[in-house]
């Protein structure tokens, strides 16, 4: 199961075995077994909801330490547009870009630059109708993963173009190789990631055979370090190379707005809302849409679980930052470059099916219903599954036992105690009678 690699990990010492994460998980991918949360790898889409909800901080995102810079002769920082919205009182992103160089990166390539090129390419795809409409954005890796396991009929709607960060890494590495003469492997393309889904996208890419992003460091780790450098330098030269469209990608609706060519689009954010839209898209409820933008995090990438700023405050800051920028500073030359397209297809991974064959699925389903109907229907989660139905499914899959239901267990215990109690009463009476036989 190499393709189901994840970037959400559990710190077992901190996990209390409570039910917060199993209840929140949008794909029902978590179970509490033996007092600890376990992720069902093939169902997890790395959305990060469990990290957000865990009151004990037991669910943690996996990313690279800042020391990863030492592994490369030449390092390129790839800051996403949402990164700029984390800072206060900025008029231009230049100060951040300069501070990244001061921090120790040899080069900065803004992901927003590549985003503007992806916007150009998407416009081209829509005009030439190469992909079935409505075209669904592939920029949020959690959404792409969700489609892969749950919405096979929507796969041919997914935009087969690399996410901006991936394309940014490709261009940046090539430019750095030309400039320095270094071999590809000596150059480190390092993303400042807002979420664990992006980390997974580099470790187990969808759409490309190999990711060009070498490492991902968390925004929350680099942010405090960068503040010091920004304070020290106060001013910076005009080095920003992205416009309003590129920066707009930071928030929900920004990618769509950047298309300009169409206003027939839908943008949804927050994983539960995304699921509702995908269900409706599958049922062909929006027939005349050109484009659908879906972000797993509320607010878009500014809402990533590794960001430091409140997503809605970040949006307000972004608005201010973009105000005097030109619309776009990066353009394609008429055609979509070959290295911007996916080189491997998105393939359906059927993880919801119960059995290996249809016949097996049918009989397992019948059993599932029987078991579900025998359960109390409280969806309390105490068994470690999010709902009674999920427990029934786990039982037929052989991953749980009916005795895991604490409500049923208590009923049985009470029955046993009652029986024992009657026995005990009788025994006591018998004993009393034996001691003081009634006069005949």
């Amino acid at each position: 199961m190499g393709e189901f690699i994840h970037s959400v990990i559990l710190n077992k010492d901190l996990c209390m075995g409570c039910i917060n994460c199993i209840k929140r998980c949008p794909t029902e991918a978590i179970r509490v077994r033996d007092g600890k949360a376990h992720i069902i790898a093939e169902r997890c889409i790395d959305c990060g909801e469990c990290i957000r909800i865990c009151p004990h901080h037991a669910k943690q995102p996996s990313y690279d330490p800042l020391s990863v810079l030492e592994n490369y002769a030449y390092t390129i920082a790839l800051p996403p547009p949402s990164f700029y919205a984390q800072f206060n009182n900025l008029e231009e992103p230049d100060l951040i870009l300069a501070a990244l160089l001061d921090f120790g990166f040899d080069e900065v390539y803004e992901v927003a630059q590549a985003a503007e090129l992806v916007s150009d390419a998407t416009r081209h795809v829509l005009q030439t109708e190469q992909v079935q409409k409505p075209v669904i954005s592939s920029a949020c890796p959690a959404v792409t993963r969700l489609i892969r396991v749950r919405y096979p009929d929507l796969i041919n709607h997914v935009l087969p173009i690399l996410a901006p960060v991936e394309y940014a890494a490709r261009i940046a590495r090539q430019e750095a190789m030309n400039k320095t003469g270094l071999p590809a492997e000596k150059i480190g393309c390092i993303f400042l990631t807002p979420c664990p889904a992006k980390v997974t996208a580099f470790r187990a890419p969808i759409g490309s055979k190999k990711s060009e992003v070498d490492a991902a460091v968390a925004v929350k780790e680099i942010y405090p370090r960068l503040l010091g450098y920004m304070k020290k330098r106060q001013t910076a030269e005009n080095i920003g190379r992205a416009g309003r469209i590129g920066l707009g990608w930071a928030e929900s609706g920004g990618e769509s707005a950047g298309l300009i060519s169409t206003d027939s689009y839908l943008a949804a954010d927050g994983i539960e809302n995304v699921i509702r839209v995908l269900e409706d898209l599958e049922d062909e409820k929006y027939s005349d849409l050109d484009f659908v933008e879906l972000d797993a995090c509320a607010g878009g990438c500014v809402g990533g679980v590794l960001q430091v700023e409140n997503p809605y405050i970040a949006k307000a800051k972004l608005k201010k930052l973009r105000r005097y920028m030109p619309v776009s500073k990066n353009h394609l030359e008429n055609h979509i470059p070959h290295n911007m397209l996916w080189d491997s297809d998105l393939e359906y991974a059927p993880v919801m099916e119960l059995g290996e064959t249809r016949a097996e699925s049918f009989s397992m389903y019948t059993r599932l219903e029987e078991i579900r109907d025998s359960l109390p229907g409280l969806d309390c989660g105490s068994c470690g599954a999010p709902t009674c139905e999920a427990l029934a499914e786990d039982i037929v899959r052989g991953n749980a036992d009916i005795d895991d239901c604490v409500v049923l267990m208590r009923q049985r215990m009470e029955a046993v105690l009652k029986a024992l109690g009657k026995d005990a009463e009788k025994n006591a009476k018998d004993a009393a009678q034996a001691q003081n036989p009634l006069p005949l």
Binding site: D153, E282, D283, K285, E353, G355, R358, A359, Y365, E369
Partner: protein, 141 residues
Amino acid sequence: MAEVITLEYTVPGDDFTRAGEASADMKSRLKKLGLPADVVRRAAIALYEGEINLAIHAHGGCICVTVSEGVIKMVLADKGPGIENIALAMSEGYSTAPDEVRSLGFGAGMGLPNMKKYSDVFDIESTVGVGTTIQMEVNIS
């Protein structure tokens, strides 16, 4: 193996916030059964159209879905006003939906035509003042 799975739903009348629950539930169950994606999609679309009709026109009704290995059968029954002219009702764009329903984006007159389009067998029986029963089948390839 002749296993048959039965799913039953009650659709409340005039409640648009709940219309769609039955087809959504059926869809997630059909996916667990490992049925082809296209079959699941067609059945869900046809049932959703039917559900909306039950809510708009019939003051609610009931749905019974039976799934065997070869076919999905969906029966929608109501005790609503019935349909006077079935042929007219089946024509695209014809609708008797009231304005407040149209303003919600429903009532385009495509419900029955779409139910027929997405199913392999479509049968409708209706008596004015008594109710309507629709039977649809989607073959599982």
